[in-house]
């Protein structure tokens, strides 16, 4: 059974103890549910999943070293390790680290891009750079990833310093869940932004994992 979102945020997810798969997906905790859904949907029984804590996203500079440590820990137990991170604010350093370690990773700047499809996202960038994106996981963990780290629980007057230049919140839905739609709309209201929902599904994540099989 998958751990809860709070555990995925704070601690991540351990690899199965029996190392039954041939390929290990080393992912961000924010992608755990989506990757497990894809593994089940596609019957990728050769694939195991382990996740680093999703909260690393708040300190992207720590991601490359954390990925390296995890790759080194697991590499003897698997034929292949695939890193399910995009650049994620590391400014190319994660790509360089993966190249050094000889492992592949997901293409693209971040999950907002690959969920929508990197090409489609890049095409929209010109007119959509004032959008703030949330995924299913981030809607569920909005307080842990946005509200509290930005201090908005303690200092709501800072909201417009952070979000004054944004115009809308785009909720990229991976699954069709009306309850998350309601929650995402409430997040937009809290940030003082227009709201838009897009059902993206898993976008390029599915292609990337299929390529890693």
């Amino acid at each position: 059974m998958l751990v809860d979102d709070k555990t995925l945020t704070e601690q991540g997810l351990d690899a199965p103890e029996d190392h039954s798969g041939r390929v290990l997906v080393l992912a961000c905790g924010a992608l755990a549910r989506e990757i497990l859904a894809l593994i089940e949907m596609n019957s990728w029984t050769h694939m195991d999943l382990t996740c680093l804590p999703a909260k690393l996203h708040l300190r992207p500079e720590k991601i490359p070293a954390a990925v390296q440590e995890a790759v080194e820990e697991h590499r003897n137990n698997y034929e292949r390790i695939f890193v399910a991170y995009a650049d994620c604010g590391t400014g190319g350093l994660l790509q360089a680290k993966c190249a050094e370690l000889g492992v592949e990773m997901v293409e693209g700047p971040h999950c907002y891009s690959f969920f929508e499809g990197n090409e489609a996202f890049a095409q929209k960038a010109e007119e959509e750079f004032t959008a703030f994106y949330l995924t299913d996981f981030l809607v569920k963990q909005f307080d842990a990833f946005v509200w509290r780290p930005m201090g908005l629980d303690r200092h709501p007057q800072l909201r417009d310093m952070y979000f004054g230049n944004y115009t809308k919140l785009v909720y990229q839905a991976q699954i069709d869940d009306p309850a998350l739609d309601v929650k995402a709309r409430a997040c937009a209201e809290r940030l003082g932004l227009e709201y838009e929902r897009r059902l993206t599904g898993y976008g390029d994540l599915e292609k990337a994992l299929a390529g890693a099989s």
Binding site: P109, E126, P149, M161
Partner: protein, 235 residues
């Protein structure tokens, strides 16, 4: 004991206690107290420049160190910056009147496709506090916007900021255009933003990557000193 008895009366403090108290107030983001402290020191005959450097800039320097060391986080730094801004608003017109030292002129802006300006605004404020005249171009700046501002004359430093991996390469577009137009060497180019690093700064041909506002100020001062030395040697 009543709360009133605990209350700190800034006006009753001698200078040597008031200034550290202002540093504490700045650290705690207390804008009203900072405004009061600034006015008290001005009323006691301090020059605006002295109030700025000893009262505000020194306080923000402490905030910067604790931010770098992971003791303070972005929300607290923003509150401190807001308090400093409130003090600066009183001092700025007075500084212009009293002819405070000017270290150089800077143009700064966030690059095209990027709307993030928190870091840029902090750099602007700290550069102004250090004695630089800063023209802030705001967010989403094209090459034309940067070059146009530089061509308006008397600029020493170009500062570019980006928060996104997808927008930071635009800095190279700007620098390459400056090279094409034969104007690159006329300016000190400083770059900054969360996903950047020193290697990126070097790769795109900037003079320096600045990891935070305090480093930006120190780097700008160093480059300006070198520039003056070169000009002095060539004279």
């Amino acid at each position: 004991m009543s709360d009133d008895e605990d209350e700190i009366i800034l006006a009753d403090m001698p200078d040597e206690e008031l200034v550290p108290q202002m540093h504490d107030d700045l650290y705690d983001g207390m804008a009203e107290e900072i405004k009061e402290g600034v006015n008290i020191l001005l009323g006691r005959g301090w020059t605006p420049y002295r109030v700025l450097t000893e009262g505000l800039v020194e306080g923000m320097r402490i905030v910067g160190i604790d931010f770098r060391d992971g003791i303070l986080f972005v929300p607290e730094v923003l509150l401190a910056a807001n308090a400093m801004k409130a003090g600066m608003a009183i001092l700025k017109p007075l500084l212009a009147e009293t002819g405070a030292p000017r270290l150089g002129n800077m143009v700064i802006g966030t690059v095209k496709g990027d709307i993030h300006d928190i870091g840029k605004n902090l750099v602007t404020m700290m550069m102004e506090g250090a004695g630089f005249e800063v023209r802030d171009l705001g967010i989403n700046n094209s090459v034309e916007s940067y070059i146009g501002a530089l061509n308006e004359g008397d600029i020493d430093i170009l500062g570019m900021s980006a928060l996104l991996t997808t927008t930071m390469p635009y800095m190279k577009v700007v620098i390459d255009t400056m090279v094409e137009q034969g104007m690159r060497d006329d300016y000190i180019v400083l770059v900054g933003g969360a996903p950047l690093n020193e290697e990126f700064g070097r790769a795109i041909g900037a003079d320096a990557y600045c990891r935070d506002a305090a480093v930006a100020v120190e780097t700008a001062k160093e480059f300006m000193a070198k520039k003056h030395n070169r000009m002095g040697a060539g004279a």
